[in-house]
Subunit: 163 residues, 4 copies
């Protein structure tokens, strides 16, 4: 296993949703990823890049091209992408074929700021997967390491399933 | 990546420490692992086996032999072992050479019942690692997937480092 | 101080907001008040009555009349009302003059399901206030026991202030 | 109700217990009270005085005399004392008769750093009680405002009950 540095690209999604009382609504806020990694006492070298703050339903082809280009040009070969769950598999498709990169997408079904969230577990999965898995695109949700091109979200059931 | 079932063997350690007011002290309690997996919305097939409830400083060779035998005879090939951190690497040595098994040890530096614990992240890492890594013994702590035979705990610094 | 039973009337508001992934939005869910009281290890006699699940901006005069009638006809003389913060002071006005009742309104600026919420603290204040304060209407928010008729919410600042 | 400033005296106890991995044990740490008040979004004027860090079983008459003198000489008339639960009622006796002071003792049966703790609720009760109750000594635990001289801890049951 490598100790090579990990790049964490944040794009928004439920995992980063905060509640704004003055608006009586939730919005994607400053990423909580740094705090999750601090709580997890991560000493592995990493770099967090807050690329965008969007609901994944708002992401378009241009956004996906930007994510791909960012990863392609980064020095790190191990990459975690935090992402909204609704179009996570679309982004996985857009990231296929990045040579020399192990890319893992993850997100959360409940905001990380909730007391009961899947965020820390999923992020932990992604950290391990990008170190242990071969080159390619992976998704770590619901306790499974999915091939990023062979998975879909079952929105009604609120979980990811093999395709 | 496989969707084959995961065996989770709990042995005690800080991760499962609860506070008992009537005793004014902490003791290892009923394992919280099931609850962590529920919070993480894990739908991947798994089985939890509460094998012992010990501080890892109390584990002896007989305990380690029991853990090894339990894994060797289990039908699952993907195994997570939750364990106290102080002698985690000793147990890793004892589990080396189990044929056909990917075994991942993890624990926590702060009890899982704390609001700020590394437990969920570490357990997520172990879940991903036992699916993505080849046969062998691994340790997932501090954000790194360590070769279980090439790592030690730096007790003063409160972290695992390569050996 | 009395040990007489406390009636807790829940009406909705931010305190009970849950996140629904399938809708990508937050809605008021089954009240979390019972769970907050269990976590607080409350052994004082109480009864929870889930009267409505509304954002306080949606409450109308009919709703307020119902809350008042419910309290007036309840056997308990000590009453806690959980409520959205935006129109909490309007409801306080509507509850003025209930003879023989100590009524305390509280809510939260962040949902109780968040790891960092003011919910438990505010509910604790309300529990103590309804036991210690004389007949009348009180609001317990931001660490202060306010006279319910002499307070307003400063929405921009996100806090309650004397009027 | 007054908006006069509140003095919070911390003396240690379970509420402030932290886990120290390097020692494999829990000890009373830097007080978490400031953080609880920040999370509760308290804007009421207050001052925190960390007087000692002791298990309440270790407190002696000299400690209790110091607590009493500190409160007697403080400019604030509204006082909250955080305290271990085992001898909380002994300290209440020692604080009886402080003229012009409303003193409220509280603590927690589970450390405030736990995800599921009664700490925030109990501290909220104390904040409200010291504003709403008349001069005297009170204890806010288990959802009840107790007369500080008419209560005992039932250690086996893990709760406070009237005496």
């Amino acid at each position: 296993m490598t100790q090579s540095p990990i790049l964490v690209v944040t794009t928004g999604g439920t995992i980063d949703k905060q509640y704004f009382d003055a608006l009586s609504e939730y919005q994607i806020a400053e990423s909580i990823i740094q705090e999750l990694l601090r709580t997890a006492r991560v000493t592995h070298p990493f770099r967090v890049l807050e690329l965008m703050r969007k609901d994944s339903l708002e992401l378009d082809d241009g956004d996906r091209a930007l994510i791909a280009a960012t990863i392609a040009h980064a020095p790190e070969t191990r990459v975690v992408v935090t992402h909204g769950t609704d179009t996570m598999t679309d982004t996985a498709q857009a990231l296929a074929g990045l040579e020399g990169k192990t890319v893992v997408l993850c997100g959360a079904l409940a905001p990380a700021r909730f007391a009961e969230s899947d965020a820390a577990f999923n992020l932990g999965m992604a950290f391990a997967c990008c170190q242990a898995a071969p080159e390619g695109v992976w998704i770590t949700m619901n306790g499974t390491v999915f091939d990023g091109l062979q998975v879909r979200k079952d929105r009604a059931a609120g979980k990811f399933v093999p395709r």
